[in-house]
């Protein structure tokens, strides 16, 4: 009784080049925002890194790594991994932010 990772029966719709180029441009824009924020102040840079970087990573996962077209098990696995990372960050901040 195995888990179904994703269905091979249903044809998967792949996005066209337009989508990939659009996402790529969005990633460039977000990178530009991050660089800009880093010139404003350290606080802005940190908040930018903590919010925009996961967003960028999410876009890469979702489109370039095809997560959008995978079954629920893969999505859960990625969520567990990212959730674990988030908890690690929170616990690290319990030290750094209160030193």
């Amino acid at each position: 009784m195995n888990d179904t990772l994703h269905s091979h029966e249903a044809p998967i719709e792949h996005p066209g080049y337009g989508t990939f180029i659009g996402v790529w441009l969005l990633l460039l824009l977000l990178t530009g925002c991050l660089v800009g924020l880093s010139h404003v102040s350290q606080t802005y840079a940190v908040w930018g890194l903590m919010t925009l970087t996961p967003l960028k990573a999410g876009l890469v996962f979702y489109y370039f790594m095809h997560l959008k077209y995978e079954g629920p098990v893969f999505k859960v696995v990625v969520l567990v991994t990212l959730g674990t990372l988030l908890i690690f960050f929170a616990l690290l901040f319990s030290d750094v932010a209160f030193r």
Partner: protein, 541 residues
């Protein structure tokens, strides 16, 4: 479960049936059982090197042998002892040997999901081991940092830290690939009818372990790469002189290395959960509680890393949070112990060597675990941090726990793996010096720690000498026990009597196939119709 015996016996996996024969057949095998044995042989070699180094470190504490080695060599020895025992023996120990050998059989599969990746994992393991050995004799010589490679000392020392941490990096790949393989195997390869709650508990333990291997190992891998980059290019991540944060290194190191403790102990607990029902002749008590406790140990155990850093100067808030979480992780461990003891209660106990070592595991692990909870309390931790108490405590967990469980598992599955039976009397004879020596050595260390003896010291003050002598004599007894134990098994491998297919009366799938198992384990993939520990039906038959 349906019958799985072949009508005409297939040749065992130990017989070369492919185009290659001899050593070449072993070095290119993709059979999970052979790969398990490759790990077994290589790890036992590393284990005895580690034991030898430990023995020398103990000898130095005796007046007669004080000049045996220099202080610098002593620093190198405790580093190498730690690196070998942690990275080459205890971390990969049970999952790589028994996970590889038995996971597919326990779930009714013919092999793991990715057999070639499995062999690649072993080659990564051996490559990492070779690099670790090379680091002792090249560059500035053996690293003297301790196995933790703490910054900023590891960034400054002239010894060959770069190669040693690169070795650990390569070994990490072996661990991650094994983790991926096991997770996929458990999800995809279970026999028809084997629901999640029909899996033997060893599989649950391996599944939890594999998740830790997959999620935590990349963190230490990147951290170790940063150490190399900092040593070569001075990038200033961890070096305070360059604006770096040495505590960040400790955090990143322990984010992996504490869960690594659970990589070591969870499969050990899985093996114990297999052994106890077989020798109590009754179903395990609290199957689901044990299965879920494995998962919660993996989860909560990943969040307690900073209890290794209570005296490092991190914030008071972090101290409180990590102290609390450390106490919490004791709960699922205790659930397991209570369930094991309840399994034995009113069981029809068949006292055999694997049970003796399983009970030894429970006793020693409880001492190790409870002294661990003690250290979760901040005030006690400050008093005993970096003393021999810590060394005694983690040897109770690692050796008394994982080591004894590995021995128990080896005794339990040896007849299945090799098709031979060992001398039970010789194994009992090995247990006595091993048990007495173990407690003299490591309980002695805990007393020394309480008295104030710091760890990693080449010499000691006169008031500590008596306990040092007791601990050293204990180490001799321990080694004597180990030699008898492994000599017995080695002898049995060549000259042992032929073992029955099911010498212990076990009811999980491995006992339904011949000893040693045929190449593809099952002629016909079994259909599972019930849970793994149904002894009532066996008795009825």
């Amino acid at each position: 479960m349906s019958g799985t015996h072949a009508t005409t016996p297939e040749p065992s996996y130990l017989v070369d049936t492919g185009t290659r024969t001899g050593v070449l057949a072993w070095l290119t095998t993709t059979d999970h059982k052979r790969i398990g044995l490759l790990y077994l042989y290589s790890m036992m070699t590393f284990f005895f090197v580690g034991v030898g180094i430990g023995l020398v470190m103990r000898l130095v504490q005796l007046t007669t042998f004080q000049k045996l080695i220099t202080a610098q060599t002593y620093n190198a020895l405790f580093t190498v002892h730690g690196v070998i025992m942690i990275f080459l023996f205890v971390v990969p120990g049970l999952p790589a040997i028994f996970g590889n050998f038995f996971l597919p059989i326990l779930i009714g599969a013919k092999d793991v999901s990715f057999p070639r990746l499995n062999l690649a994992s072993w080659y990564f393991f051996i490559a990492g081991a070779i690099l670790a050995v090379l680091s002792l004799f090249t560059g500035g010589g053996a690293p003297d940092t301790g196995w933790t490679f703490y910054a900023p000392f590891s960034l400054k020392t002239g010894t060959n830290v770069s190669l040693a941490v690169f070795a650990a990096f390569v070994l990490g790949f072996s661990s991650m690939l094994t983790g991926i393989n096991f997770i996929t195997t458990i999800h995809r390869m279970r026999a028809p009818g084997m629901h999640w709650f029909r899996m033997p508990l060893m599989c649950w333990a391996l599944y939890s372990t594999a998740w830790i291997q997959l999620l935590a190992t990349p963190i230490v891998a990147i951290t170790l790469l940063l150490v190399i980059l900092e040593r070569f290019f001075g990038i200033g991540i961890f070096d305070p002189a360059k604006g770096g944060d040495p505590l960040l290194y400790q955090h990143l190191f322990w984010i992996y290395s504490h869960p690594a403790v659970y990589i070591m102990i969870l499969p050990a607990m899985g093996a114990i959960s297999e052994i106890l029902p077989t020798f109590a002749k009754r179903p395990i008590f609290g199957y689901k509680a044990i299965a879920f406790s494995s998962m919660s140990i993996a989860g909560v155990g990943s969040l307690v890393w900073a209890h290794h850093m209570f005296t490092s100067g991190m914030s008071g808030m972090a101290l409180m949070i990590f102290s609390l979480l450390t106490m919490v992780v004791a709960v699922p461990s205790a659930i397991k112990v209570f369930n094991w003891v309840s399994t034995l209660y009113k069981g029809s106990i068949d006292f055999q060597p694997p049970l003796l070592f399983a009970l030894t595991f429970i006793f020693l692990f409880c001492i190790g675990g409870l002294t661990g909870v003690m250290q979760g309390a901040l005030a006690i931790n400050v008093h005993i941090h970096d003393t021999y108490f810590i060394v005694g405590h983690f040897h109770y967990v690692m050796f008394g726990g994982t080591g004894m469980a590995l021995f128990a598992a080896l005794l339990y599955w040896f007849p299945k793996m090799f098709g031979k039976m060992y001398s039970k009397k010789a194994i009992y004879a090995s247990w006595f010096p091993m048990f007495i020596g173990f407690n003299m050595l490591y309980f002695g260390m805990m007393i020394l720690g309480m008295m104030g003896m710091p760890r990693r010291y080449y010499v000691h003050l006169p008031q500590f000498h008596t306990m040092h002598v007791i601990a050293t004599v204990g180490s001799w007894l321990l080694v004597l026990g180990l030699v008898i134990f492994f000599a017995t098994l080695l002898y049995a491998t060549f000259k042992g009597e032929k073992a029955e297919d099911n010498p212990w009366g076990g009811v999980t799938l491995e006992w339904t196939i011949p000893s040693p198992p045929p190449l593809e384990n099952f002629d016909v993939i079994p259909t599972i119709t019930r849970g793994p520990y149904h002894f009532e039906q066996e008795e009825h038959r």
